[in-house]
């Protein structure tokens, strides 16, 4: 048997979470040890946010809390009570893609696509805050997001193009 045993299911009490996700108020119960990532995916049913390393290294699970990017695998659901969360599902306006999403499609920045939602959210936070960004600010903003397929060139190009379009 492994040295640390997973807790028995009945040992974990539930807690009530109230927050705003993509503009809609959500009220749901979650186990007290539930991460924000698990809350979003398994309880709210928003599976656009991905889990990959589950230890805050790869950025796949990035969402915005009150406009700031966070790795949702490292936050407990209870920490978002009363706060506003944006996930990748909240970016497009109906059929109209967000400019970052559009540029990701245009440059082929989504290959396997698993890192894509997290990268788009990191880029969204960067461009929300900064009307004018340098190349090094761009790279620093995306440094916490790992992509295993693209070698990043198409991603950098997508964010550059989105930035140019937003500025003009």
């Amino acid at each position: 048997m492994p040295s640390a045993l997973a807790p028995l299911p009945d040992d974990i009490p539930l807690t009530r979470i109230t927050c705003t996700i993509n503009g809609e108020q959500v009220v749901a119960d979650a186990p007290v040890d539930c991460t924000l990532l698990t809350f979003l995916r398994d309880i709210v049913g928003l599976t656009g946010t991905k889990g990959a390393c589950l230890e805050g290294e790869c950025g796949s699970c990035t969402v915005l809390i009150d406009g700031k990017p966070v790795t949702s695998c490292l936050m407990l659901a209870g920490q978002v009570n009363g706060r506003t969360i944006t996930t990748v599902e909240g970016l497009a306006d109906g059929d109209a893609l967000d400019v970052i999403q559009e540029k990701f499609v245009e440059t082929g920045a989504a290959q396997c696509g698993y890192c894509t939602p997290g990268l788009i959210m990191s880029a969204r936070a960067l461009l929300n805050d900064n009307p004018s960004i340098s190349e090094s600010e761009l790279l620093t903003a995306l440094e916490g997001n790992i992509c295993r397929c693209t070698g990043y060139a198409s991603i950098v190009e997508a964010v550059r193009r989105a930035h140019r379009e937003l500025k003009s």
Binding site: A52, E55, E102, G151
Partner: protein, 780 residues
């Protein structure tokens, strides 16, 4: 129905203009799956869960790297609330064995565990939490056996025998010419030993999926790389007819060879068979994914290379030992690939290669991008640099003197007609020289700059006489568009677009009218694995064959409709028209009705199955070991911090002959992405074991390149039509990684005068090498 009767009610002169021809081959059509991937709507294996799963499964894995199982006590696990069953090998109805080449890997261990990821039991519960709690409470009593942790231990006198036949899994040899005589006569002989490391695929989308048994069909939504082979393996292991297994590939987040071996499929299937009518969900986390999955082979390569006074290669003697881990996986194929690529794109008249696979109690090692070929490129390119130094010759000149030209043989004796390695190297060097090389002038004393290169070749497809084929079906739809059905698996590389573009080109349809259905064993025919850089060439050919037969059907019907000979019909942008008079035209949608009325199916299938010739046992020689060869060359520029040992890649140029880029954006994506993985392998990635336990089973300690580790990679696409490929294309998946690693090592050698022989070149390793270079004591 006569042609006249249908013709009268259709307009002969539509108002719209036919758009100009728009060739889909060579066009950057936006990825068909792009929109769903950027909006988060794409459904990967783990996304099928929360909504679909009724029950949840978890896998109990061995805590020992080598042990006999004395007893499996499931009572505490069954007592956990919500647990419905705990299943062991005794509950498996079939052979309980899987394995891609040798069936040697028990799905659930019976008497013995051979690595610390071996599966022992499957737990099924009403919630994932219950399943996890129960998994940790299955008590397995072991009788530990000595752990064979390294190849050296496995080969030492008195080593424990991991299998009755011993610890050598197999061997592979190349014999050509008289190596002894050539070495004796050589002007210059260089020898070195290379150690390549164990590498993890680290695709982001960990193994996850769902399964259901409805009493007749076992349906699994699970990511793999060859759905039809997985179906066979699952059916055998679980003891149900293969026709009763259906595999549907969900959207899949990367593979790189890491999904070739069976992962969750048999466990999902077992759980589903035990709970009919219930959808079972199973997902790993990162740690389990790394602990369970096969890895890239760590190789020890002893290389001797000889040349005459002018630098013409005369002989190579190479001995390779390969850490095969606990089970065979695709190891036999990897050994063979290493042997057949041992001397790369160079003319070597006398060659001796001996490759030995060595079992240990580490994870099984198997497929990963460029397997075998990538490790050998590190060695043969490393040796070219060492030889250039020994001969006091220019590195480029030495390479160019010995690189094959069309008609020359490679390691297997196969003569290569499309050898374009000279052009690849010239293109990479020309690109490099477009900007002045900054050199070391003006650098602070702790920084040293250098540049290096690599030239590589790669045999595409399985080769060696192994049956290798793809099938495809293409159908015209009622709206005049077309759908491609392929068993090929999209894992992110862009297979869907490639197949749509090939069929659309052949049929004169716009991309928007093309559809694709892929990797569903119920709806698509077998197309082999998404591996060996084979899908563009193999399935691309099958799609083109099907589409060209379909084109003939369309031309027949269009000829009747337009009242011209079929040879006078042009298909363009969804229209068929008389080539000399485009006012005489008909839309594909209208033709569809007409064709059906005339009894045409407007469906066609394609089979592409070229034959290779098995390599002769003992000599490894074959006139056609591989169906075709690919070439590439890289130039890399690095900056080494000689105080910290840190290596920064400043520039990297990758030139690859891809035959024809069906979708240049995808091809470039493969090149740049391959360089990134190569950079990881060169500088940072290594699975570290201690007595069979992985010490870095997570991204905190298993380091892969971030956006700041990569320079802007300069990709050069070279296009020489491959006579056997669809529209001249061959493929690009693996070569970019193969070329990247040796170019970076070559640049480090140039910068420091130290030639690294052990991978990865971490700062610590580099720092130690530099201290040894300077004769400074190195702490242990």
């Amino acid at each position: 129905m006569t042609p006249q009767s249908t013709k009268t009610d259709a307009p002969r002169t539509p108002e719209v203009t036919i758009p100009p021809a728009d060739h889909l081959v060579g066009k950057n059509c936006k990825r068909v799956d792009g929109r769903e991937k950027v909006t988060g709507l794409a459904m990967y294996g783990a996304d099928l869960f929360p909504q679909a799963a009724d029950l949840f499964a978890k896998v109990v894995r061995s805590e020992e790297a080598h042990a006999d199982i004395v007893k499996i006590d499931t009572s505490a696990a069954l007592a956990v609330g919500g647990v419905l069953g705990v299943y062991t090998h005794a509950d498996v109805g079939g052979t309980n064995i899987h394995g891609l080449i040798r069936r040697d890997h028990p799905a659930l261990a019976e008497k013995r565990v051979r690595y610390r990821g071996d599966a022992i039991a499957v737990v099924v519960a009403e919630s994932e939490r219950s399943a996890e709690a129960a998994r940790d409470r299955v008590h397995v009593e072991y009788s530990p056996l000595p752990v064979v942790a390294t190849m050296e231990e496995a080969l030492s006198d008195g080593a424990p025998r991991l299998y009755p036949e011993g610890n050598i899994m197999g061997d592979k040899r190349i014999r050509r010419g008289d190596v002894d005589a050539a070495l004796a006569a050589a002007h210059c002989v260089v020898t070195d030993t290379f150690h390549t490391q164990t590498v993890d695929h680290a695709f982001l989308d960990v193994e996850a999926g769902t399964g259901i048994w409805d009493g007749h069909t076992l349906t699994l939504n699970a990511p793999g790389q060859w759905v039809h082979e997985e179906r066979r393996l699952i059916a055998l292991a679980l003891g149900i007819p293969v026709e009763q297994v259906r595999i549907i590939q969900p959207v899949t987040g990367g593979a790189f060879g890491g999904r070739e071996d069976i992962s969750i499929q048999i466990y999902l299937g077992l759980a589903a068979l035990k709970h009919p009518g219930k959808t079972i969900g199973l997902r790993y986390d990162r740690a389990e994914s790394m602990r369970a999955r096969h890895k890239r082979h760590a190789l020890k390569i002893e290389y001797t290379l000889a040349a005459d006074r002018e630098g013409t290669l005369t002989a190579a003697r190479i001995t390779v030992h390969s850490d095969e881990g606990a089970y065979a996986s695709t190891g036999i194929a990897v050994m063979r690939k290493a042997a057949s690529h041992a001397t790369g794109p160079y003319r070597v008249p006398a060659i001796e290669v001996d490759v030995y696979g060595v079992h240990t109690n580490n994870n099984p090692t198997g497929a990963m991008r460029g397997f075998g070929a990538c490790q050998m490129a590190i060695a043969y390119e490393g040796m070219m640099d060492r030889l250039a130094d020994a001969l006091e010759m220019d590195r480029v000149a030495l390479r160019k003197r010995n690189m094959i030209v069309p008609g020359d043989p490679v390691t297997t004796g196969q003569r290569i007609d499309n050898a374009s390695v000279h052009e690849c190297l010239d293109a990479a060097l020309a690109k490099f020289n477009e900007r002045p090389y900054p050199g070391n002038d003006g650098l602070p004393p702790h920084l040293r700059r250098g540049w290096g290169m690599s030239a590589i070749c790669f045999g595409l497809g399985y080769g060696d006489g192994f049956p290798d084929c793809s099938r495809a079906r293409v159908e015209i739809n009622p709206d005049g568009g077309a759908t491609v059905y392929t068993g090929g698996v999209e894992v992110g590389q862009g297979l869907l677009n490639t197949m749509m573009q090939i069929a659309g080109e052949e049929l004169g349809l716009p991309f928007e009218k093309m559809h694709v259905v892929a990797a569903d064993t119920e709806l698509t025919d077998e197309s082999g694995s998404s591996s060996a850089t084979r899908q563009t060439y193999f399935t691309g050919n099958a799609v083109r064959i099907a589409a060209s037969e379909l084109r003939e059907q369309i031309l027949d019907v269009a000829g009747k409709w337009l009242n011209v000979h079929p040879h006078e019909v042009t298909l363009q942008q969804g229209w068929a028209f008389e080539t000399a008079n485009d006012a005489n035209r008909v839309s594909m949608a209208r033709l569809y009705d007409e064709g059906l009325a005339r009894g045409y199916s407007f469906k066609a299938t394609g089979l592409f199955k070229p034959r290779t010739v098995p390599e002769v046992h003992g000599t490894g020689q074959s006139p056609r070991a591989f169906i075709t060869y690919l070439f590439g060359a890289h130039v890399s520029q690095v900056l080494v911090d000689i105080e910290t040992g840190e290596v920064k890649v400043e520039r990297h140029i990758a030139a690859h002959d891809v035959g024809k880029a069906i979708n240049p954006q995808s091809v470039e994506g493969q090149i740049v992405g391959g360089v990134a993985q190569g950079l990881g392998m060169a500088l940072m990635e290594e699975v570290v074991y201690k007595k069979g336990r992985i010490l870095n089973a997570g991204f905190t300690d298993y380091i892969i390149p971030t956006i700041k580790d990569l320079p802007p990679v300069e990709a050069i696409i070279i296009e020489h039509d491959d006579p056997g490929g669809p529209f001249g294309a061959h493929g690009v998946g693996e070569p970019p990684l193969i070329g990247a690693v040796p170019a970076i090592l070559s640049a480090i050698y140039d910068a420091t005068g130290v030639a690294p022989d052990t991978l990865p070149v971490t700062p610590e390793r580099m720092w130690r090498l530099l201290r040894m270079r300077d004769g400074v004591p190195v702490p242990v």
